[in-house]
């Protein structure tokens, strides 16, 4: 039923809705942030518009109601309260519902309930009309006589909303003192310097220049409004004026984005002038009521032409910036369906396989010409592979941001106070990996909020702040990405875990376990039911699911904990899934691949009576595992074998193979359901000659072997 346009509306709406959620949560933290209010309004406005255009009339009508309330907020007629934000979040969820299940019969009733609730929420604070103009607008001493008019918290709001890298438009009013030129300063140079920071519109106010008889040409009679769109922060802008701070009044403020509808423009021109204290709100209202152009009315009223011009130039600058941003966004990135990317990766995978085959053929033929071609081919395909992979990489912040809502709702439900910190959101991971991490992360975060963090009164009793903190941190560690979910709660309860594990027969009650082994128990299947230490009851999934999911993407998970101080769940995830660099080895006629990222070195191994189960490597004893017997492969040992040395959490371990063939770009293929329970291999790959090599899952193979040994003991 849905045609392509509707599908693309859905995609757009989805993005708008998740952006809306983020902005609402930010607004909750910082209710005075006009930027956020404007952004929420815009999001709703766009949803309304496009929903109507694509035939989602119910959504459009509903969004219209929400939008009109938000418009009140934007104008300062409706004040922002926690319950209003909560309601708006519910409305957002409702729109999501309408998108997902348009045929749900309960939707119209729910729409009405929400609308009524919104109207009730908006009603109690109908402030008189004039209030709109004189209080909530961020004027901040633009008059020029309050050089330091910005309040500290406003500064922090501004700097956070315009971190370096994100272009923002600033309004700078630069009012040099008359004597600024006395010591040789040329104020014009400062203005020219601003041009180097970004797109810049400068408006000189020349009304103060008198005639030749009255003027002292050596003192400054001009001041400026500058509209600057830059990626630099506020401090970089003030730095330009660093040497004239004592000789000029300077105000720098963030300009909110502007809507460009025609009727908006009038209101906006008036608004700019009111903000600057140029005209009284009543004048603008009167002008708007009449049919004349606002500019004309203002001029008739004797409003300074320079001020009107400056306001018009500000509008023009904003319009130009917006057009530029739109056209840049249009050309800088294109939207591609993820299936197409998956297909591309598949094709590159095939190409990599074929290239391995070409290499082999070239090698066998002994033809130098073909050899050179094969080498160049290999290099090109390596680059193609890397580029293709990087296209699929997404910053993990896209996933992190979804948890803000989760944490907020959980904290509310559980009566806890929780702050969520995220760090390293720009760390990139394969799109599929990020998608598959979502559920495990949800589970782990729920655990942390539910079980890790104590209720506020317990925290205060323990001498902590009543607000608990959940931190999501991501960073690169070698070829892996490490994601930590930390809480500053009570930590894991050793005794309770041991007790429960003993109850379930996982360990003997007297067992002396190291922390790592103990915490590993939490990941055992069946450990996590009912009111176990680390699971949210009623969800039916436990930490074993988290581990299984991580295993399936080639990652690992572990727990760190300090009693009373908090715990951290550490996930280690490979950068990508589809293609890895592998080390190809041979045992008998069988081929196996070790992920190269795990391999430390390869050494020769002589089977001697004293070399049973261990080998001396670089002066230390190292355990070795005989893969031939592990995999029950028939045949004779070669005289000299090879040991592939792999680094693990507890030192190195050697895997004995017949021969090391060499490096191999490995396209990972799933083994299929039948082999789901095979622990020692994580997948397979097709070699150049068409044979299949199994990819060894080093972590699990070792786990299996150490488990087996413990049983023997």
């Amino acid at each position: 039923m849905l045609d392509g346009f509707q599908e693309s509306f859905r995609a757009e709406a989805q993005e708008l809705l998740s952006g809306l959620e983020q902005t609402l949560l930010e607004l909750e933290q910082n209710p005075d942030n006009r930027e956020s209010i404007a952004a929420v309004f815009r999001a709703m406005h766009t949803i309304k518009g496009s929903a109507g255009m694509f035939g989602f009339d119910d959504i459009s009508a509903f969004a219209h109601h929400v939008e009109s309330i938000l418009d009140g907020v934007r104008n300062g007629e409706v004040s922002i309260t926690a319950s209003l934000i909560d309601l708006t979040l519910q409305c957002r969820d409702h729109i999501q519902q309408m998108l997902d299940n348009p045929d749900d019969p309960d939707l119209p009733a729910r729409s009405r309930t929400l609308q009524e609730a919104l109207e009730a929420e908006a009603r109690p604070a109908p402030k008189e009309r004039s209030r709109t103009f004189d209080t909530p607008l961020p004027t901040e001493g633009i008059g020029g006589d309050e050089a330091d008019g910005t309040t500290p918290d406003r500064v922090s709001a501004e700097s956070s909303s315009s971190a370096p890298g994100v272009p923002a438009t600033w309004h700078i009013r630069f009012v040099p003192h008359a004597d600024i030129m006395a010591n040789g300063t040329n104020p014009l140079l400062l203005l020219e310097e601003l041009h180097e920071m970004g797109d810049c519109t400068v408006v000189a106010h020349t009304g103060g220049i008198t005639d030749l008889d009255a003027i002292d040409l050596h003192s400054c009679s001009v001041f400026w409004d500058v509209f600057l769109t830059t990626r630099e922060g506020k401090s970089a802008i003030s730095d330009v004026f660093m040497f004239v701070v004592d000789q000029a009044d300077l105000t720098i403020r963030l300009v909110e984005e502007i809507d460009f509808g025609d009727e908006q423009q009038y209101r906006r021109l008036g608004q700019i002038l009111i903000e600057r204290g140029v005209v009284e709100p009543a004048v603008v209202e009167e002008a708007l009521a009449g049919q004349k152009r606002l500019g004309q009315v203002l001029r008739e009223r004797g409003v300074d032409q320079d001020e009107i011009d400056a306001a018009l130039r500000e509008q023009e600058h904003a319009r130009r910036t917006r057009e530029k941003v739109q056209s840049e966004a249009g050309s800088a990135s294109i939207r591609v369906q993820s299936e197409k990317l998956d297909d591309l990766v598949d094709l590159v995978g095939e190409l990599v396989t074929l290239q391995a085959r070409l290499n082999q053929t070239a090698h066998l033929s002994g033809d130098a010409g073909v050899g050179v071609i094969a080498e160049n081919f290999e290099r090109l395909i390596g680059e193609l592979r890397d580029h293709t992979m990087s296209i699929r990489m997404l910053p993990i912040s896209s996933s992190f941001s979804r948890f803000r809502r989760l944490v907020r709702d959980l904290a509310r439900d559980l009566g806890k106070e929780v702050d969520l910190i995220t760090e390293g959101g720009d760390t990139e991971l394969d799109k599929t990996v990020i998608e598959r991490l979502h559920d495990p992360l949800v589970h782990v975060i729920r655990n942390s909020v539910d079980h890790g963090l104590e209720p506020p009164q317990d925290r205060i009793a323990a001498g902590k702040s009543s607000n608990g903190t959940i931190a999501l941190r991501a960073r690169h560690v070698g070829a892996n990405v490490e994601i930590r979910v930390e809480d500053d709660g009570r930590g894991l309860n050793r005794e309770k875990i041991l007790l429960r594990a003993a109850e379930r027969g996982l360990v003997s009650p007297e067992a002396q376990l190291e922390d790592r082994e103990l915490y590993d128990l939490v990941f055992m299947a069946g450990f996590s039911t009912a009111e176990a230490v680390t699971s949210v009851s009623g969800r039916g999934v436990g930490m074993d699911v988290v581990r299984r999911e991580l295993d399936s993407i080639g990652g690992s998970v572990s727990i760190e904990s300090r009693s009373g101080e908090g715990s951290a769940l550490v996930m280690t995830i490979p950068l990508t899934l589809a293609i890895i660099d592998g080390l190809l080895v041979r045992i008998g006629e069988e081929r196996f691949v070790f992920p190269l990222s795990n391999v430390e070195e390869c050494i020769e191994y002589l089977r001697t009576p004293e070399n049973r189960g261990t080998v001396v490597n670089r002066g230390t004893m190292m355990p070795v595992i005989d893969l031939r017997s592990e995999f029950s492969i028939q045949g004779e040992y070669p005289e000299i074998e090879q040991a592939v040395v792999v680094r693990t959490g507890n030192g190195c371990i050697g895997f004995i193979v017949d021969a090391v063939i060499g490096e191999h770009q490995t396209v990972i293929k799933n083994l299929g359901k039948l082999y789901n329970n095979v622990e020692a291999v994580s997948g397979a790959t097709i070699l150049g000659d068409g044979t299949v090599a199994l990819i060894i899952d080093v972590q699990r193979l070792m786990g299996r072997i150490t488990d087996a040994k413990r049983h023997i003991k």
Partner: protein, 113 residues
């Protein structure tokens, strides 16, 4: 007709160091003639004092009931500076156009202050 017009050439640096002398010249010319034309075509540089000179000259002439306009070509460095510092909205390289385009220049009103 031409005897009623005087062209004042603002040559070289039209800056703090030269504006006082130029102001004297302009004042004298306005006293002598009905119309004074300021030419920037030989100017190499202009600073804030120079820009203020242009405005103040115009306002002075209007105050005296005379006409004062800018004429001739506007050299690139001057045109660029006028644009970048917000005195014009676009790059103007012609004096007559500058006469129209210089922000607030043609209004000729002298504020009470």
């Amino acid at each position: 007709m031409s005897s009623n017009v005087k062209v004042v050439n603002l040559t070289g640096s039209v800056t703090v160091s030269s504006v006082d002398a130029l102001a004297g010249q302009i004042r004298d010319s306005v006293a002598e003639k009905e119309m004074v034309l300021l030419s920037l075509s030989q100017a190499t540089e202009i600073d804030l004092a120079g820009v203020q000179l242009l405005y103040a000259a115009r306002r002075y002439a209007v105050g005296q009931g005379k006409a004062l306009h800018i004429t001739g070509a506007v050299p690139m460095p001057v045109a660029q500076r006028l644009l970048r510092c917000g005195f014009t909205e676009e790059l103007i390289q012609d004096g007559r156009a500058l006469d129209e385009g210089l922000h607030g220049f043609s209004e000729g009103t002298v504020p009470d202050a």
